[in-house]
């Protein structure tokens, strides 16, 4: 790759979200901001190899994108918008001489992406596309949606932002907690999309874990005093630290309790612990801090060699009070089974509504494991079969088949 192409790519990666956020906030139109920036990036790839990389690549891209927007507005007959932008460009050109940077509107953009008026399923894809510049096909794969469907959803949701006139603003103090939770949920959903794709041999299957962590870091940088944002980053780092240990050298699945702790990433675990301690200082616990605390309790095995299941079961009890999701309930039942016996764990599973768990693989895998422990082999085989049939990954399927074959 030529230097110019590499410089354009680097500028794109580091500036994309900042420039989209800035332009979208000014023009109240995410789709047009993205199109204009896309054109500017193409122009950069064409001109930079001949004329050399400009001293301020980000400024160059911004100016080129704004020209597109102004031209577009003129064609559309929105002369006033074009005039306003030109006046601002002139003012900023003067500022530029004094070395001012593009102001960062990414936080406002994140809040737009997770706005209550936006369909929950569209929030994470929108964030990944506008802030990180990921293409619809990649997002579609991660969320197991047809690429055409994903493109349509993104187009529709951007039209809604424009038509509904959703504000590009950081919410006020009293609204902050609820609005931030939606942002954090959307980031965590991006992390979750990568969780089962751990094999790593095929980079396309790595999911969006790195992107989610990047977004998590961005939020903690832009809002350093929000304990839940710190909690989410700590949670993701704890999970990510274990990634290398989740498969053995032959590619076989290794469950958490059997993982080799020496393969956990020490720097990531330590960073996660530091973040969680900082979060705890503000004494306002929440869902993500609790989830991170649970992972932190698991991580203690790396230092002490044992897992305190009773402590984990209690933390889950707290988590279920603020976020009684199907996933948390199954994980809580697993902790109860370890701390207080398989019967107790099974009772927690029995208490769940059949509809909620009909196609939830972890429920059936745990059910099989607990029934097997209790010697109820016929029922255990049935549950294991259901778990195997609901598994997406060959390694997980093989692991469960081996466990269930031990009873046949």
């Amino acid at each position: 790759m030529s230097d110019a192409a590499a410089a354009a790519e680097l500028a794109a990666r580091t500036s994309y979200g900042r420039l989209v956020a800035y332009l979208a906030a000014r023009w109240r139109d995410v789709a047009r901001a993205e199109d204009a920036l896309g054109d500017a990036l193409l122009a950069a790839l064409e001109t930079w190899p001949h004329r050399g990389v400009p001293d301020n690549p980000e400024g160059w891209l911004l100016t080129a994108a704004r020209r597109r927007l102004v031209d577009g507005a003129r064609h559309a007959g929105v002369a006033a918008a074009a005039e306003a932008e030109l006046t601002l460009m002139l003012q900023e050109h003067i500022d530029d001489q004094r070395g001012t940077r593009v102001s960062d509107h990414r936080l406002a953009l994140l809040f737009v992406c997770a706005h209550p008026a936006i369909d929950e399923a569209a929030r994470t894809p929108l964030m990944l596309q506008t802030v990180l510049g990921l293409d619809a096909a990649r997002i579609a794969s991660a969320f197991l949606v047809a690429p055409a469907t994903m493109s349509q959803r993104l187009v529709r949701v951007k039209a809604k932002i424009r038509e509904a006139g959703i504000c590009f603003e950081v919410p006020e103090r009293r609204e902050m907690a609820a609005r931030l939770e939606a942002v954090l949920d959307a980031i965590y959903a991006a992390y979750g999309s990568g969780w089962e794709d751990v094999a790593g041999a095929d980079p396309r299957r790595r999911g969006l874990a790195e992107e989610a962590i990047w977004l998590g870091r961005l939020v903690t940088r832009l809002l350093p005093d929000e304990p839940e944002a710190l909690g989410l980053l700590a949670l993701m780092l704890h999970c990510e630290a274990r990634r290398p240990a989740r498969r053995d050298s032959g590619g076989a699945y290794v469950p958490l309790r059997e993982q080799d702790v020496t393969q956990w990433s020490q720097p990531m675990l330590e960073e996660a612990e530091r973040l969680l301690k900082t979060a705890a200082r503000s004494k306002s616990p929440g869902r993500f801090q609790l989830e991170a605390a649970i992972q932190s309790a698991h991580a203690q095995r790396a230092w002490t060699g044992v897992t305190d299941w009773e402590a984990i079961a209690l933390l889950y009890e707290g988590l279920l009070r603020c976020a009684p999701t199907v996933g948390a309930r199954v994980a809580s039942a697993a902790a109860l089974a370890e701390a207080r016996g398989a019967e107790t764990g099974l009772r927690a599973l029995d208490a769940m509504a059949p509809d909620a768990v009909a196609v939830y693989q972890p429920y059936w895998a745990l059910r099989g494991q607990l029934l097997k422990k209790l010697g109820r082999n016929t029922q255990a085989l049935d549950a294991y079969d259901r778990a195997i049939g609901l598994s997406e990954e060959a390694a997980v399927r093989e692991f469960l088949m081996t466990r269930s074959a031990q009873m046949r």
């Binding site: 197991l144 949606v145 047809a146 469907t149 009909a358 196609v359 079969d385 259901r386 778990a387 195997i388 049939g389 609901l390 598994s391 997406e392 990954e393 060959a394 399927r397 093989e398 088949m401 074959a405």
Partner: protein, 121 residues
């Protein structure tokens, strides 16, 4: 809404059906998958197909019969079976397609079933 999941298998997977070392894992995975579809109440029908070498292809161009041994298309991945499922939308159909054992080794293709043609069409 009905969808068909077409199960495309590699040579190696097709061979696993009768390989003494691998056949238990192969059939176990499909048995479990079929059970999961049934237990979830989405299964409409389906069948496993004998391997491509058992196929016979028939064409009748211009009224002249042409019968050939072997499958219609000779490709790396071959149709090994299909499931017909009834789910609310394509998103749900893709979730089931991803769980099909051939998704991790070969491929699965999802197509919406056409509604029956209106009378008189």
């Amino acid at each position: 809404m009905q969808f068909t999941i077409l199960v495309y298998e590699t040579q190696s997977e097709l061979a696993a059906r009768t390989d003494p070392k691998r056949k238990d894992a192969y059939w176990g995975a499909y048995r479990a998958y079929t059970k999961a579809l049934r237990d979830a109440g989405v299964m409409v029908g389906g069948a496993g197909l004998e391997p491509p070498r058992t196929a016979t292809t028939v064409r009748v161009p211009d009224g002249k019969r042409r019968v050939q041994d072997g499958p219609f298309a000779d490709t790396k991945e071959q149709l090994g079976g299909y499931y017909v499922i009834d789910v609310p939308d394509l998103d749900k159909a893709l979730e089931w397609a991803a769980r099909c054992p051939s998704a991790s080794t070969g491929a699965t293709e999802v197509r919406p079933n056409m509604p029956p043609p209106p009378p008189g069409a």
